[in-house]
């Protein structure tokens, strides 16, 4: 399973590295979202820096939608999905691989967006351990849940509109928890930030388990 996962993740990341869709489209889109929030909330740095944790995670959520869509779009062309199945790879391995690739893409994007909120919103970073732990666990949850739903809507004619409707309510707890934890780390709120990390951990475990068990059922037909 681990070997299959590494193969699939390597393949997906190589495709992204060569096609440059992630770097040329998804990353600029994410930064654009940050700029649009700036327009909507006034360039008044007070509001922006106070709301920066929430805005950051909303931008990550939107980009995650794109990353997941992209992850299954590359299987849709040239019979890629059938190819994966014919290779006899373990479905759990395929799930892990695809989720891992999405995880790596999102993690890179989060680094860029962190830079973005520092530069554009004037945020002072602090509580690095909490920030990094939150980001790691939240991204794991996003990647796992996204991959499950990506497979769920893959191959349907209306997948572009269906995926956000299915995925966004499911990701609501991630947005909430990650935002709260980051607010604590950035000093805009006083709370026990690690409690939120634990909740994010529960979310991630639930969806990783679901993907490992259920991905076979999703793959075998599409």
């Amino acid at each position: 399973m681990w070997r299959d996962a590494a193969l699939v993740a390597g393949k997906d990341l190589r495709i992204e590295a060569r096609s440059r869709v992630a770097t040329n489209q998804v990353a600029p889109f994410a930064v654009l979202v940050l700029v649009l929030f700036g327009f909507a909330l006034d360039p008044d740095r007070g509001i922006l820096s106070r709301a920066s944790a929430g805005l950051f995670w909303v931008a990550v959520l939107f980009s995650a939608l794109l990353a997941v869509q992209r992850s299954f779009a590359i299987e849709a062309v040239d019979g890629g999905g059938d190819g994966l199945r014919l290779l006899g790879l373990d479905p759990a391995g395929i799930f892990m691989g695809k989720a891992a690739a999405v995880f790596v893409e999102l993690a890179a994007l989060e680094l860029l967006l962190t830079l973005g909120v520092v530069v554009l919103y004037g945020v002072d970073l602090g509580g690095a351990a909490l920030m990094v732990a939150t980001a790691a666990v939240a991204t794991l949850g996003l990647a796992a849940a996204g991959t499950v739903y990506g497979a769920l809507s893959a191959g349907l004619r209306v997948r572009e509109t269906l995926l956000p409707l299915l995925l966004l309510p499911v990701l609501a707890p991630v947005l909430l928890s990650a935002t709260r934890a980051w607010e604590v780390a950035l000093g805009t709120s006083v709370d026990d930030g690690w409690r939120w990390v634990q909740l994010l951990g529960v979310f991630a475990v639930v969806y990783v388990t679901f993907g490992l068990v259920g991905f076979g059922a999703l793959m075998e037909e599409s």
């Binding site: 849940a145 499950v148 739903y149 769920l152 809507s153 191959g155 349907l156 004619r157 209306v158 269906l162 409707l165 299915l166 966004l168 309510p169 499911v170 609501a172 707890p173 909430l176 928890s177 709260r180 709120s189 709370d191 409690r195 939120w196 909740l199 529960v202 979310f203 639930v206 969806y207 679901f210 259920g214 059922a217 999703l218 037909e221 599409s222």
Partner: protein, 251 residues
Amino acid sequence: MTAPAHDRLPARSQASFILGAAALLALVSTIVLGLGLPPTLEQGPYARLIAIHPPLAWAAYLAFGVTAITSVLYLWSRTRRRVWDRVAASSAEVGVVFTALTLVTGSIWGRPTWGVWWTWDARLTSTALLLALFLGYLALRGVQTDVHTRAKRSAIAALVAVVDVPVVHFSVEWWRTLHQGRSLAQLTPQSDLDGSYVAVMLLGFMAMTLVYGWLLIERYRVEALEEHFEDQGLDRALEERRAEAEAVVAR
């Protein structure tokens, strides 16, 4: 594929008729008795909404519970039957209606009692997310694709949605305990309940359970009829084309 469905056209059964009549009776008596409840000191006439609001929420949970169980039954290959898929679909649709009504009645109660139509209270927020999750489920069901594929994916989506509910609940609960300015516990109707309120609310629970059961049976019947006519429509179209071809050959 499945056996031809032509010979077992689902008809409205007598049981459904009796259930429907009982549901109607219970619903009418809940409304009549509920409107006859004395207004309370704190909330005036709005406290009467207790006769239908908690029962609606209960029916919604019941409906989604049934969807979850039948989805598991469909996914498990040993118990896989088309029946479970249809029950899951019908129950989810009825559940969405009940959830929406729960939010609407709650909102109507909240406006005079809290002064706002909507507040970011934990229970309200998680109910709204529950509605969004199952609207997504219904959207997935509405997609035109192979019946088995749709059934399988819908079943998985229903399970994921149900699994998500406790996480959603915890997150909004913690979220709100931080920012909640006003304690909702003081304002909940339970604090000034007397015997007649409890009795009417229990009647309401019974009424909504009956209504749910009746709606589920009828929705299931419609679902089965739709499938039946889809199958039949294809057969009929084939026969027509064949007849056309024969007519051409005969000429």
